[in-house]
Symmetry: C2
Subunit: 548 residues, 2 copies
């Protein structure tokens, strides 16, 4: 049944693709439809600003028309350095409407990294929020490319920073055409976005998304979350993180309202929930932790159940349990930049509702099963690709295949080939597969600790640490050891009022709750270094541990 | 920005399709996933029988393996004549798993029509339920093809009928391989199903569906209906209608439970609702009418709101209002066989909830807006394709384009081209577009009669009438009917000397020569109104029929 052996037959003849029966899949069509069906519905809220779907769509078309007028077209890269503001949302539509590719920059990067990305992606235009002008100015000095610079001077922002370019975003839009025709790509394989991975080793890699994948993962998110019509979605997750896990586009499928937020704080989140009737948001476990540890008087969830999607690092069961106690319903997903964000979901079983809370949280802490739009997921031997037995024990590498794995790494065929070896995308994450087919991550391959020849999952040790009543945040890394090779070293932030807790107490708590060889041999107190997406920067901790 | 002008650039080079990042879209993947994630969940209920998703999937694979073993493969047609039973569901997966194309036959067709379809589709196998053995036996005598005949001898059925083939369905499955590997098509454009329209002129046309469209419309249905995880879906809609509007496949996306029903009666529907906790079903307005007119003691909806999707002919506002009063929540959709079933939905606006019931029902009686997976919908001039003004007044032809319009008509390039003229699929339905962008049908293509959800070609009925020795001239039009929506009404001029012929004689003659549901329910004698060129003026007859 291969194509090579197949000659055209009755089901092929005169039954080809024509304009009436084929359109390239593109998430741009979702916005066109939302604007047609719900023109008066609020598309976004940003401080005192609101835009309807009709206005939102018109603004995106204005942006596309002005970019096109300036010569930005197919396969040109348009970078953006901005927090979760309307211009960022609009860029997700306006840039690909011009045929171009959006490169949303991580706002925490340093000038050298930004310069590298601008050069590597060959940025032709750059939209930049005034808040980041200091870094961007420096980056532009370092970069070889000379992009058209468009300043975003957000009225909601009153902090320091200067304008760097010749034109401000609103002035640009004012000269645009609100009826600029929506042109879809000829080919759904055409690039829509470029997202650089942080790359702990060497230069960052540019992950290329295409229209087809962005369309499908948008639908995937709506499906696995059973997103209702017209939800109110709060932007706690940075949009520069895998295009906000494709929710920048996916919200248009259900004509949802985006609630923008320049900065994610517990107060701002609870205020948005109370004022705008937020129904859904996404966030890394660190955001959940922040919310569940906010002082009681700050919490204004208001009795409604709010849906939270979390990923980014395995959420400790204790954090999930605390969130659910506060009235948040947590959906746990897992994915990578290479899979358009989440591609795996801990799909719930009704019968699990009857289990005790800690057991429920433990089940939910597993990463789970493939999205309906991801065709393959397995835990396998990294070399032979032999699937691991579904015993919940045997460690292997998590691998995926299907329509929501990236097009590849930009200008990096060697890395692309390595990532796709054997017909599967190699995630670099280590995990097990349980008898019920659910996968559970045990560690990044580079994070795993090997002590006296035994593998120790840092995620498992962290899970125990989070159960200690005094622990606010915890991260475990390998510390070189002359006897054992490596030993677990814990970095811990204590809750307010718990500062008297000693390292000995923590270690003993761990030894009581897990195999002794897995318990930390060192505990260090203090704040944890984090990325902009709330991920704890483990390589920095490893350096610290090595220097102890 | 056309491909012809586009040379490969940085976003194309080394970023092509490979097994890790591309899979043909196919609804078969939904079942594989449902069986992996919810193996123990009930996939279907049929009388006392139940199957879990693991069992359902294994049975489909058994079917595929036995078909493959008998030489049924890519682009072979497998026909099925059955009511809404498990074998019908399983054929929707097992047949395409073997690479073949499913042709579900309308069980109300007469032997000649079935013989035509078997021959035209070149059926290589035929699954046939014992209930229809009389008709199928006759059809097989008339047909030129000699398909492998597989009897479905459903234990739930205890009526008359004989086995026609060499092997019974369960015996066939018993010899199959429950682990037969799931092979997806090489190309998502590959055919998955063949559905014959009744055809207003001459022979029925075979509408070809491909895997891509079936995948996308399955998702479209889940999206527009906000189908929750694991719904309980009742099969009132025949699965032979556009593959049950793609719900045969779509239910697997959400691991829903199919409740099978051989015959749709008000009692059976209410019993299923009470016994199985049905949450959703689809049905033509005639089904809704039946349910709302059932005697009060038969109604056992049990206080829950049940979601109903309706289409097939414009549901009278009164029927919608009556249903909602009974606790059914109606979603109105519209589509054609050529669009995989529903492709347009009357998407609801929250603010409409505050309107009076009759106004709400009138809004809901409109066909609405495009599905998220349908990229184009318009009401336009049939010749110039100029869109009609959105005034709710100006009549035009409804046209669609995008990924859920058919591949084309089998072995009928002339009809395919005509249907796709100008880059749009011409529905043949007349309607208007309202100022809010919602379309409303005003007339079906001018001759077709829709009776109980079935299309009846007036030309076909007229053809039979003309065979009666006493008939001089005949014209058939729709007569409004409170039960069936419409019934065929014949206007007949008798030959001289035949004035003694009665309406009863004419009707009986028709019933003998065609499917009973197509036979006229009313016969009126007298001269026919004609244009100067001798054409019968049907609209005048429709008015007369409505006034009877």
């Amino acid at each position: 049944m291969t194509d090579s052996a197949h000659l055209p037959d009755k089901y092929d003849r005169d039954l080809g693709r024509v304009p009436a029966n084929y359109t390239a899949l593109s998430p741009l069509t979702f916005l066109a439809r939302a604007a047609a069906v719900y023109p008066a519905h609020t598309a976004y809220i940003h401080g005192p600003r609101r835009a309807t779907y009709a206005e939102f769509y018109a603004r995106c078309r204005r942006l596309a028309s002005t970019l096109a007028a300036r010569g930005v077209g197919r396969s040109d890269t348009v970078a953006i350095m901005a927090p979760n503001v309307p211009a960022m949302l609009e860029a997700h539509y306006g840039v690909p409407m011009a045929g171009a590719v959006l490169c949303a920059l991580n706002v925490r990067l340093d000038p050298a990294a930004i310069a590298f990305i601008l050069d590597h992606g060959e940025a032709k235009a750059l939209l930049t929020d005034r808040e980041f002008s200091l870094i961007v100015k420096e980056a532009l000095k370092l970069a070889k490319v000379r992009p058209l610079v468009i300043d975003i001077d957000d009225p909601v922002y009153d902090g320091p920073g200067e304008r760097l370019g010749q034109v401000e975003y609103e002035a640009l839009l004012a000269e645009g055409d609100p009826a600029f025709p929506l042109t879809l790509p000829d080919d759904e394989w055409q690039a829509i976005a470029l997202n650089y991975t942080s790359g702990t080793t060497g230069d960052p890699k540019g992950v290329v998304f295409h229209h087809r994948g962005a369309y499908l993962n948008s639908l995937g998110n709506v499906l696995v979350w059973s997103l209702p019509p017209r939800p109110v979605y709060l932007w706690t997750l940075p949009m520069f993180h895998c295009n906000g896990w494709c929710f920048t586009w996916g919200l248009s499928v259900v004509a949802g309202t985006h609630v923008c937020l320049r900065k994610t704080t517990a107060e701002a989140v609870y205020a948005a929930i109370a004022e705008h009737g937020v129904t859904h948001f996404c966030g890394a476990p660190v955001v959940l932790n922040m919310l569940s540890n906010a002082p009681p008087e700050a919490r204004r969830a208001g009795g409604r159940t709010i849906e939270v999607m979390t990923a980014g690092s395995a959420p400790p069961a204790a954090v999930i349990a605390a969130m659910e106690k506060l009235g948040f319903h947590v959906t746990h997903v897992y994915g990578l930049t290479e899979t358009y964000g989440p591609a795996v979901v801990c799909a719930w079983h009704g019968e699990w509702d009857a289990l005790p809370a800690d057991r429920r949280a433990a089940l939910k802490a597993r990463q789970g099963v493939a999205y309906p739009v991801l065709e393959g997921l397995m835990v396998a031997d990294p070399e032979t690709l032999e699937p691991r037995p579904a015993d919940g024990q045997t460690l292997g590498e998590v691998m995926m295949r299907g329509n929501i794995t990236m097009k590849g790494y930009l200008k990096n065929p060697r890395s692309t080939e390595a990532a796709f070896t054997g017909g599967w995308f190699h995630t670099g994450d280590l995990g097990v597969i349980h008898p019920d087919g659910y996968i559970e991550l045990k560690d990044r391959s580079k994070d795993i600790i090997i002590s006296g020849g035994e593998n120790i999952s840092t995620i498992e040790v962290e899970g125990v640490l989070y159960q200690h009543p005094a622990v606010l945040e915890a991260a475990v890394v390998a510390r070189p050891d002359s006897t054992w090779g490596e030993t677990p070293c814990a970095f811990v932030t204590l809750k307010q009022g718990c500062e008297a807790t000693t390292d000995r107490e923590i270690m003993e708590f761990c030894r009581k709750n897990m195999a002794h060889f897995k318990a930390p041999k060192t505990v260090v107190f203090g704040p944890l270094p984090k990325t902009s997406t709330g991920k704890i920067v483990k390589y920095a901790l490893r350096e610290r541990a090595a220097a102890l």
